[in-house]
């Protein structure tokens, strides 16, 4: 058969979020991949420049629904380092607790979605029921199931009572039993192995060359985890292991995530037992002095980097976000070459794509310029302000 160009996306039942992979097929094998993104670009970075830091707290949350707290922690860490303050210890512990709970919920969600992609709806339903336990705990602690507005600049907004601690520990016991069962199924079920073994191979050298992050690269044997390499919040005090396997395929990614769930349960138990007493928030001034800062955390999908430039007023001057899925996308192109058409959805799902977080880039063609020109930032900004001013909208 001749080579066929098949568009997967932007609307496709296999993808949870819109992006376009135009794959070139030779029979049933994929030969080439062309990726286009930009379908959910919301202009968050520009929006952040016109809001105060307190208002931005809630905007940063909504960059993503699943890894929202990692973004907020990054933001508050940026602002706190520009201010030069050190938040209380209890606040750090509570932040770590919510970060790990979020990692749990994200990994369960991913297991269910991966099960659904390979047609295993029963696993999907079972893992999402376990996720409900985590969601209920988060609702108890923070007041909302997603986008928990837990952070304030200078600490956290809510405190943990003893009742909360008891419930968290009970939840962890239940989850440990259920995850042990899920691990049994994921590793030993013959049909999952048939779909996931030797599929989507990513060798370590290529992974590092394309700067892949997160469980994707940890399944290729590379030990890269921000929680150990550059500890933030209270990770420096907590003993835990970084999980790597060296199978380099989708099965390795499944195993890495399931084992990370066990590690997170261990971390949460340690946090609950060693929670220090004290304040949870400290007062900070409204105007942030001039300065720059970079902060990175280990979101459930990988390394998440934020950059802040403050100019002494109540509003940030420039804020830049680089999410983990953005780093994993070029690696997908490498993984897909040489695999079957039937494997494309599971390989894409194996890096845990979160396109909502990721969309930050658009290729614009302006007016009479030749198409494909890349427009520099100040010209783009001036263009945007002119566009809004023509319509009478104030920024």
């Amino acid at each position: 058969m001749a080579r066929v160009k098949l568009p997967i996306g932007p609307q496709h039942p296999a993808l949870k979020e819109p992006e376009n992979f135009t794959i070139t097929l030779d029979g049933e094998r994929v030969v080439d991949v062309d990726i286009r993104i930009g379908y959910t670009h919301r202009g968050i970075e520009k929006l952040m420049e016109s809001r105060t830091y307190t208002q931005n707290l809630y905007l940063v949350e909504r960059i993503c629904g699943i890894c929202s707290y990692a973004h907020v922690v990054n933001f508050t860490q940026n602002v706190e380092s520009v201010l030069g303050v050190q938040i209380p210890k209890r606040a750090e512990y509570i932040r770590t607790l919510v970060l790990e709970l979020e990692r749990l919920h994200s990994h369960f969600l991913w297991l269910g979605v991966a099960g659904h992609e390979i047609g295993f709806d029963t696993l999907f339903m079972y893992t999402w029921q376990d996720r409900e336990v985590v969601q209920d705990l988060l609702e108890l602690i923070s007041g909302n199931r997603v986008n928990y507005a837990m952070n304030a600049i200078g600490g956290v907004r809510r405190d943990l009572s003893d009742d909360h601690r008891k419930k968290v520990l009970e939840g962890m016991d239940y989850l440990e039993k259920r995850t042990a069962y899920d691990k049994e199924v994921a590793i030993n079920e013959k049909t999952i192995l048939a779909r996931a073994e030797n599929v989507g191979i990513l060798k370590p050298k290529i992974a590092l060359k394309y700067s892949a992050v997160g469980p994707t690269v940890r399944a290729s044997g590379v030990t890269m985890d921000i929680r150990k390499d550059d500890p933030y919040a209270s990770y420096a005090e907590i003993p835990f292991d970084v999980i790597t396997t060296d199978t380099c395929d989708v099965l390795g990614r499944i195993v890495v995530r399931v084992l990370e769930v066990f590690e997170s349960i261990k971390i949460i138990r340690y946090l609950m037992e060693h929670l220090p007493a004290g304040d949870v928030v400290m007062k900070v001034p409204r105007k942030i002095p001039v300065g720059e800062s970079i902060s990175h955390t280990e979101a459930p999908r990988g390394e998440d980097i934020h950059y802040l430039r403050a100019n002494g007023t109540e509003r940030p001057d420039r804020y830049k976000v680089r999410t983990p899925t953005m780093a994993n996308l070029p690696a997908i192109a490498e993984m897909l070459k040489g695999s079957y058409l039937a494997d494309v959805p599971i390989v894409i799902a194996a890096i845990d794509p979160c396109m909502g977080c990721m969309d930050r880039v658009l290729l614009l063609k302006e007016g009479s310029e030749t198409p494909g020109d890349i427009i520099p930032w100040d010209r783009l900004r001036a263009y945007g302000i002119k566009w809004y001013a023509e319509r009478g909208w104030k920024i």
């Binding site: 307190t54 208002q55 809630y58 029963t122 609702e139 108890l140 507005a149 907004r157 079920e189």
Partner: protein, 113 residues
């Protein structure tokens, strides 16, 4: 040799149990006490400082002239239920309740004064 169908024992057990679905609205789950739902405004404690409107991320809270003084009015269509207004208020005049069933038919119907 591994035989497919590792989940069969659990499947057989679950086939005869009741489902875990909560048939809303006939059955309801009780929300926890500090769920951030609709806010309650104590007008007698308000000192018209305007901090709530300054800090609201979505312009849901705006100050209007009512009875000669500036008072906040909360538009629930825009509210993200973040409770920043409750935190910024120096006199604790705003409190978040756990009421979350707030659907209504027309835009502009849900206002808290």
């Amino acid at each position: 040799m591994k035989v497919p169908g590792k989940m069969l024992p659990k499947i057989w057990v679950y086939m005869f149990k009741k489902p875990v679905t909560v048939c809303y609205p006939k059955q309801r789950l009780t929300p926890p006490k500090n769920l951030r739902g609709k806010m309650k405004f104590y007008i007698e404690r308000c000192i018209s400082c305007g901090l709530c409107a300054r800090d609201c991320p979505s312009t849901a809270c705006q100050m209007y002239e009512i009875d000669g003084k500036k008072r906040p009015v909360f538009d629930l269509d825009y509210c993200t239920f973040c409770a920043q207004c409750a935190e910024s208020c120096p006199k604790d005049a705003i409190e978040m309740t756990a009421e979350f069933e707030l659907a209504h038919y027309k835009k502009g119907e849900a206002i808290v004064k």
